[in-house]
Symmetry: D3
Subunit: 131 residues, 6 copies
């Protein structure tokens, strides 16, 4: 159970409905997921975070699917259950196959391993990497 | 200063030299970075980790540059200084531009923000995401 | 299910009962939450941790509600489910409103975002901040 | 050394200067810290993040100093060096005394201890906390 | 529900069955736990990770039970639910008593507390520790 | 530079000196490391944390060296630089050889890898592990 009530579309204040409408339109879906319904308890924060997501995740120098997989990599590393489910679903919708997902996990697992080895052995950054 | 001595090529045991040679050949470089020199204090672990890196980071279902950027995303999320420097350098070598790096950081920053919001609000995973 | 059995009041050894009594008296409640019941498998650790909580969370230079919200901020950042629920409940009891909770989450989300941006861009600490 | 060049005021594009001006005016300072100079490599991200910081950290349901201390708590928990220095400096400027800082640290330390105990013992969330 | 289907023994490809057989034989069990069944969606990754686990967790300079408890300490610190359950079970099988588990948790809790205190106070590494 | 001044023995208040004396006596050393000198800005917290360290790290169900290595494992997983240096030094003093340290790192690296794989694949805890 969420720590705050979920704000459903019917009965939501106009500024919340307006963000909900934009989320559904932008994503081509007809429902709002729980994350936004919880965030809607603070309509200003809902608007800020959605605006950020919309801008940062829009096509840019990186491919949208690549960005979604980066989102999954971070969520997995943080151990965030909700985020892992929601962004894996989003990545699949954008074209991530099972093989791509498994390979993404292999990289995430490896990176976490070598991150700790580097942190544990306290290896100094090579001059060549500082550029 | 690393917590173990760095094993330099001259004087390294044959099984270490063999891994060093393969690293330099595979990456097309003529030097060994400190991570491997520290790991070489346990030649079996050096061989295992290099073998893993070589296999997991080889071209597969995902583009090598995409994999390197995922590595950066994990390293940044873990706050690993060495890894952030070394994998950013590797990603640049594989073609990551300044604009791509900045966009990668924007996604990593956003993901860390929404991960904590989802964790803090304790939003339940929507049935639609569980598939 | 917890990884150890929960030590219930009836049948608990005297040194555990004594801590349970102090927890209930200090907090003005008539029940013991699962965290302490699990910790009670090591009565010495139960006594140590409760003593620490009682001392550190007592009024001091900071307001008790502020301290409880800081506890929530840490718990959310660590992704600790139990702690997020229990300390949010404690903060609400000490006067945290819905608006305060949502604003707390906004700060926690923002801090996690900029933490990763600073870590990823590897910005050096300004001389002015080192004092 | 930062992973990107620092964008200094002289020579910065107008949209960057405009954000820099607002940062200095809002904070009543006459210099820009490295975090923003690094972020300015992506002027759109600079504007987004500054806008977020300005809005979220403005007075609201919580006291500005409380919010700054929550920022410190998160930064410490993430082990972010830059953020710990910069937000501790900001909190001191807003009135945090040495005694308040030490007490903040005591709470952060305690919360990290009990977070891991709860995670390790895998205590189930009490029905009372789920509300 | 796992994010990928679980690969059961009957119907699994030969290279997966071969790893499953080795896991059961090495561990003296007659079932395969979900982690491996999920990983089996990428047979090469299954083989790599199992090979790593088998080698790293084999008797060496450290006692097998000690290594399993270190595994638990890391899993708890990362807040990984699955790993905490599975490695605690493995440690119990190798001889960890209730008292040893509770003491392990006490150390893990303490280490997480002092880690954050050291990170928050930003204490410089003493010359004596750099060796 | 630490975020607070370091409290040196000469000139320290009696309650701080008393803890310093006990640290030096208990550890058989003639100097105080920076962590305690920073913590001494809050003499009550200094006394609490030292008391905790002294009790938790005393011989019990686990061997003192094992406990120190668990401390290192947690510190590495948290990426705490100070803690990694100080507890590795302590473990070496208690008998940890280079081979033991490298094997400890191998386990820590592996655990961090499989923790993320389990978190990413969202494998459900097997009934057998719940006991």
């Amino acid at each position: 159970m969420a720590l705050v009530r979920l704000v459903e579309y019917p009965g939501a204040p106009p500024e919340v409905r307006s963000v909900y409408d934009d989320i559904m339109k932008t994503r081509g879906v007809d429902w709002i997921n729980n994350f936004w319904k919880a965030l809607a308890n603070d309509p200003a924060e809902l608007a800020r975070v959605w605006s950020l997501v919309k801008q940062v995740m829009a096509p840019g120098a990186l491919d949208p699917l690549v960005k979604e997989m980066i989102y999954v990599a971070v969520s997995v590393t943080n151990g965030c259950e909700y985020c892992t489910y929601s962004h894996t679903a989003a990545a699949r919708k954008k074209g991530m196959s099972d093989a791509m997902f498994m390979e993404l996990m292999a990289v995430v697992g490896l990176a976490n391993q070598t991150n700790r080895l580097a942190d544990g052995l306290r290896t100094e950054v090579d001059a060549q990497f500082r550029g």
